[in-house]
Each structure stands twice: as C-alpha cells, then as structure tokens.
C-alpha cells in the first residue's frame, strides 16, 4: 500500500498554501487548508489501521471480519475524500473559467 504515501505529500503541500495566505486574515486553527489537512490525516489514519489489521491477521492476532471492517472504513473514508477533492477541483475550474 505504498501508493498512499501520496497523502504525506499532500499534507506537505497544504501548509505551504496556508502559509502564503494573508497572515492576519485567518486564525491558524480555522483555515480551510487546516481542516482539509486534518481530514486527510484521519483518512490516512484509517488506511494505516487497515494495514495494521491486515498484519495482525497474517500474524493470527486479529479476525477476518475485523480486517474487512477496517478495509471498509478505509474505503468509505477514501471515497469521501475523493468526493471532497472533486468538489474542490470543480470549484477551482469554475473560477478559472471566469471572464475578466
């Protein structure tokens, strides 16, 4: 599941965005970038959980259904993240199409 290392790169990218934003305008805790970062970290955490469960199953520590549940949670949260991403991208494209 090394594909998910993309998350860490996304996480690196987002703080740079919020750092370039006007400093006085927004509190650090409430910016959209931070919220997105938190959400992505949660999704990443669920992916890591599913990986742990998988390892536990292979070491005969956890049950088959626990592995399936962890995978399901990871899948659902990943799909939710993709929906949010699609919304962001479409909003961005909408703005870029604005006639000046």
């Amino acid at each position: 599941m090394s594909d998910f290392s993309i998350y860490s790169n996304i996480q690196k990218a987002i703080p740079q965005q919020s750092a370039t934003a006007p400093a006085g305008a927004k509190a650090a805790g409430s910016s959209f970038g931070n919220a997105l970062q938190d959400a992505i970290q949660k999704v990443n955490g669920l992916e890591i959980d599913s990986q742990k469960e998988m390892n536990g199953f292979l070491n005969e520590d956890s049950d088959l259904h626990s592995v399936m549940m962890a995978l399901e949670k990871a899948d659902v949260s990943f799909q939710l993240m993709m929906q949010v991403r699609n919304k962001i991208v479409s909003a961005y494209q909408e703005i870029m199409r604005t006639q000046v």
Partner: protein, 142 residues
C-alpha cells in the same frame, strides 16, 4: 467518526458470535473425551454475552449504541455426566464398570451452532445494508 459506530457495533457482534461458535465446536469435538488436564471427563462450556458501551459520550448519555462481547465462558455443572456401562474401557470405574462421558448433548450443540451462524449472518446483512446506505449518501456528490 460517528459514521462508523454502527460498523463497530456490528463488528463486536461478529466477534462474539465467532467466539460462541468456537466454544460450541469445542463442545461438539469433545463429546467423547473422557480425559482432561483437570481430570475426569470433559465438561461442556457455555458463553455468556454482555453489553459494552460504544460510540461517543453523547450516544452513551442517550443510552444507545451498545455492542456485545463474551463476558465469560462458564462450565456446565448442572447437567450430569452421561454414565455408560463399558467395563473394557480404560477409563471405566474398576468397581462398577461404568464410564463417565461428557455432559454434551450433540443435537443441542448443533442447534447452538446454527443459532450462532444465523446471528453472524444477520450481522453481515446489517453491515451490507449500512454499506449501501453510506454508498448512496456518497452518490449525492456525483
């Protein structure tokens, strides 16, 4: 995430039913066991389920959202051992010639096993319905 509380509750049910299945299998397999580490024949075991608190503090305040777990595995001391007259058996009583066989009723254990399997299936069905609900909700964004 509260989205997954129902999933967690169903997972606890799956774990508990699987444990029950294990204990029933153990009873069924030891229906003829006359020697144990503790001495004497095998004694049939029963699982006792108990509820567990699950989910957020808000849900606990409502009194809802409880999972299940195996609270204890208890041995059955009520049902007597089955006495069979087999003087040639190595574990037979030298005086009377009777052998104590485990207090396992095979048909009862089969019923227990089917009940555990059905409960497991019911949990699986609940999970797939929940999955459909979540997927339909995600389709709102498309």
């Amino acid at each position: 995430m509260s989205l997954f509380t129902a999933l967690d509750i169903n997972t606890s049910g799956l774990t508990a039913q699987r444990r029950r299945f294990e204990i029933t299998s153990s009873n069924l397999n030891n229906a003829e066991t006359t020697r144990t580490f503790e001495g004497g024949p095998y004694r049939r075991k029963d699982v006792v389920f108990q509820n567990t608190a699950f989910g957020s503090a808000l849900m606990a305040a409502d009194g809802g959202g409880e999972g299940v777990e195996v609270g204890a595995v208890l041995e059955d001391f009520t049902t007597p051992f089955e006495m069979r007259y087999e003087p040639a058996h190595p574990d037979a009583d030298p005086v009377s010639g009777y052998v104590s066989f485990p207090n396992v009723n095979t048909s009862e254990e089969m019923i227990n096993m089917m009940s555990a399997a059905r409960s497991y299936e019911a949990n699986i069905a609940a999970i797939s319905i929940l999955k459909t609900m979540i997927n339909r909700t995600l389709e709102l964004g498309r």
